[in-house]
Symmetry: C2
Subunit: 446 residues, 2 copies
Amino acid sequence: MQVTQLNWLSASDAARALRDGAISSEQLVEACLARVRQVDANVQAWAFLDPEHALAQARALDERRKEGAPQGALHGVPVGVKDIIDTHDMPTEDGTVLHAGRMPADDATVVSRLRAAGAVIMGKTVTTELATYAPGKTRNPHDAGHTPGGSSSGSAAAVAAGMIPAALGSQTNGSVIRPAAYCGVYGFKPTHGLISRHGVLRLSRTLDQLGVFARSIEDLALVCEQAVGYDEHDTDTFPPRARTPFSEIASQEPPLPPRIAFVKTPIWDETEPETREAFEELTGQLGDRVQEFTLPENAREALDWHRTIMEAEMAAGLVAEYEKGADKLSESLRGQLERGRRITALEYQIALARIPQLIAGMSRLFDGFDAILTPAAAGTAPHGLQSTGSPAFCTLWTLCGMPALNLPLMQGSNGLPLGAQLVGARHDDARLLRTARWLAAQIEAD
Amino acid sequence: MQVTQLNWLSASDAARALRDGAISSEQLVEACLARVRQVDANVQAWAFLDPEHALAQARALDERRKEGAPQGALHGVPVGVKDIIDTHDMPTEDGTVLHAGRMPADDATVVSRLRAAGAVIMGKTVTTELATYAPGKTRNPHDAGHTPGGSSSGSAAAVAAGMIPAALGSQTNGSVIRPAAYCGVYGFKPTHGLISRHGVLRLSRTLDQLGVFARSIEDLALVCEQAVGYDEHDTDTFPPRARTPFSEIASQEPPLPPRIAFVKTPIWDETEPETREAFEELTGQLGDRVQEFTLPENAREALDWHRTIMEAEMAAGLVAEYEKGADKLSESLRGQLERGRRITALEYQIALARIPQLIAGMSRLFDGFDAILTPAAAGTAPHGLQSTGSPAFCTLWTLCGMPALNLPLMQGSNGLPLGAQLVGARHDDARLLRTARWLAAQIEAD
């Protein structure tokens, strides 16, 4: 195996090679760092990256392996972490000058979990301003004139550009699925409550959800299986129970060919013409396994309920930033916070009360279907770096806390990736990964 | 055993006598109904009571016993239910003309649980208007010129007057502890999340908590053990786990003499002089087992946070009543709802965020003490029926969701009951019952 190619190994292949002693973590991390040196001047995916610190972690893990110490599922595998997720050994600056130099004392729960599984925390990836809309410095690795999407811009771009096999991101609206689609990688946001948000910048308790970027479905399952779990510090995580074998289930053949609901969503007219054509072709390939499904009319209102909840909760989550440093915030974020401060508790609670109603309506859909197929975004990554694109095709699923996955299976006429989003029933995360693997195989075989 | 005296049996003694075949449920219910005929023209504890329906339930349970069917812990024991808790076989009118004639299709979860344990649902007890401040028709059974307290007025008065051995009530501020204190019965509001509120009028998800009235601690434990449990329809209930043996723990001697923190609360100056004297005497009796403890200064602010949360959540919970029937509401409730509608989502969320901070502060107190001793109310039941008295001595514990219990151990100079409140650590409900039994024994022995 050539060291210069190791950076393109999947996390699963790398973990196997490390376990077998075919490569060392130091070699793997060095290959990733070489790739960073090669492309990151252009991509700019990193908010913080100390090569020596990454290599020191790798060497310590290699040492433990040589000593015969027990090895976790990610032993020696480098992972990138969005710069809103706390790390005790690196700054976490949340994409704002207001938090410049911020050094958390502790790892976020999800970072502790990945470290316990043996991961090398490679560095911190660029986020938009406080994980909202104002872009960071990152560019799309497929064409630097295009946005990588946001807010998990650096995580998506670094995985797409081969600088790391996997990365953590977060989604309050469309911040995992959209950048995964624009950068052409797999992105997975599990059911709300699966991954603890303790030690992560809080915008919205109701909507914030962590997710994973990788270059294969197998890798999404591998990382997720380590990342999920109950945490007493995040009371929205699910109570202790047996660990779901994501990797095992994701690798199985579905017992029956899955049934897919093609959902155009109430904002289908916002898609670009070539997105519509691409989905026509895709559903054609799937034949009788796919059937169009029209959401109830209140799905359109869901965008308003989402905005009410997000802006009201952001106003509380970022109250210190607004009151002490409003002049250091972007105009768009200041506008969101000002709208959020004017929302009444009554409007906010009425919007919150819609969520269980929406979920109940959705769960009926899953009586007849295994997953929803729908666009990940209106089209390919928009030109220009002043916006990260629209998250609107993710909003409904985020609001309902449903698991969602980007499949990087298509391409626009400009050569940029075009994503298909697959959405599953709440708590049916492993099955969604299995269905996604089946779907990807159908397309690739065609 | 004389039938005319059966109405004064405790629930535990009645359950034992029923199990042994010494009495029938029909005899017991008939004795309770005789007591109703004797005193209820004066007390007016019932919103709905159909003697024939109560007797029919009793006869059916007697029949099942004769057939040798398995018997629950409350088999044949009559229980009163506050008229905001749904019953499929009786109206539930919530103390407002707006809900006159309301007939729920299903039992509330807690009613199902008591029925499953064999209880006779005797009837529906009077609540104040929508479980808020405007009084119902009930009078204090010790002196009809005085309020019974509220909002669980009928439950407290019916138990105190010997019309039933036990009853269900609810507390959003001080609606279990205060009427229990004014009427001179035991009242217990367990930790938030122990008893499901599915099928109960919702004022405030954060604050609404169900509780039990009885004439002994043994009875509180008996009824609670049947009432508590996880309910998927109330997502604030705790996940499935082994049932707590309330009765068994409550009946044990504490392994060491408990240490009691005497807490005057930041509103001690609102107590009546004889309340202060009574607590001086009480703490004197307890000697070195009690120590005064001063709460942190933010405990005073907790009254404001509670009001913000309660009024904001009531505005959402009662939005239909306000929008369709504001003219049918009392002026005090209309005022609460109008204040609630003006609260911003930001103020509401800031108040909510204080609760875990307060709880963390309180939990340190329990490193050194088993329970908090504090007044249940400013004094004995106020004269007049136009107000149900102040809940302020309960507010802090309700806000923190801590278990609280009224001990009817003292008396005012007017001969009316004067309550002592015992408050425990969250989730330490059974220990609180055990400590309360120990405390009652100290006082009675003295």
